[in-house]
């Protein structure tokens, strides 16, 4: 009888020994899917919304350019600036930057380079068209206006 009661006592608590394994599995999933920012974004980025989004197939062909108001207005002023890689560029540097990016691609893909423009929604068209003129000059004519999906009303 004493033995019997002891047995029921042990089976009262729920076995939680598998819980850490489950959590670790989730943890590994997030660790693997996380892309850590390799570069610091120096300009504000409020990406606009759009509906007709397309996904690009080859991610290696994409180079990113960021346009927006600098976060550190004391240092860089409040006018929209262009950031590529890790530094702020003037429009005149863009041709050189595109050529650098293009040299990193395999030769067959060089004319397929796509510039993903991540532009803050408060930027005016003036600076953007300056950048686009430079991109035309550099012959990097495929441009992706990065945007996030909009919830449609109907």
């Amino acid at each position: 009888m004493a033995k019997f009661s002891k047995k029921t006592k042990t089976s009262e608590n729920i076995p939680t020994s598998a819980l850490p394994d489950i959590i670790f599995m989730l943890l590994f999933f997030f660790m693997v899917t996380t892309v850590l920012r390799e570069q610091e974004i120096l300009v504000e980025q409020k990406i606009p919304q759009a509906t007709q989004l397309q996904k690009l197939q080859k991610k290696t062909l994409i180079s990113y350019i960021y346009i927006g108001k600098p976060k550190n207005t004391g240092l860089y002023g409040s006018e929209p600036r262009v950031q590529a890689n890790d530094a702020l560029l003037t429009p005149a540097d863009i041709v050189q930057w595109v050529n650098q990016e293009r040299d990193m691609l395999p030769e067959a893909d060089r004319n397929m380079i796509t510039i993903s423009m991540k532009i803050d929604r408060d930027v005016k068209m003036g600076p953007i068209s300056d950048v686009q003129t430079e991109l035309r000059e550099a012959d990097a004519r495929r441009v992706l206006y990065a945007s996030v999906g909009k919830v449609q009303k109907d």
Binding site: I23, T33, V143, S147
Partner: protein, 209 residues
Amino acid sequence: MARKKNRMSQEVNAGSMADIAFLLLIFFLVTTTIASDKGILNVLPPKLDPKNPPPEIDKNERNIFTILINANDQLLVEGEYAEADGLDEKIKLFVLNFGQPNEEAQGLYNSLPASLKAMSRRDPESSDHPGEAVVSIKTNRGTSYDRYLEVFDLAKKAYFDIYAERVNLRTDEYRALTGKDDAEQSLIDRGKEGIPMAISIAEPDKIGS
């Protein structure tokens, strides 16, 4: 009693393991930004060569659907003040007008599904046929990017709606086609055939910015 306690503590205490793992999990949950390479694709025109100026284009005015956006983000569509709502429908009507179709365009018209045929108004003041129709968007240097993207988005939507309708898909299904196999590629080509996506982005003007 004392012996019983001893036997219990032989097991390694793994109860807090879950807590530690949770902590790490929450950290990664918060820091994760799932990279998204989604956006609206645009192909810029080739650069201007001072030696070879671009050929003079003499398109009839009726074949160009002009959208002007001023520095106050107001729209002027075909010479009339307008709102952005319903712009995609106007562009669709413009593209599918078939005012003066040539033989080829007549064949294209006959191949369209009935729902698209119904959009043709044969208005002599609007585009001749889809091959000629051009949607022109002109901004000002003071136009906000948000507004420009909204209008560009609507112009793209009009074309994608037409393409999707032709191949009997929903618009988002058509847009998701990537052309990675022949079946998808042929769907894309069938949608686009004879109706080029002609959206022209004019150089912004500087007045009033």
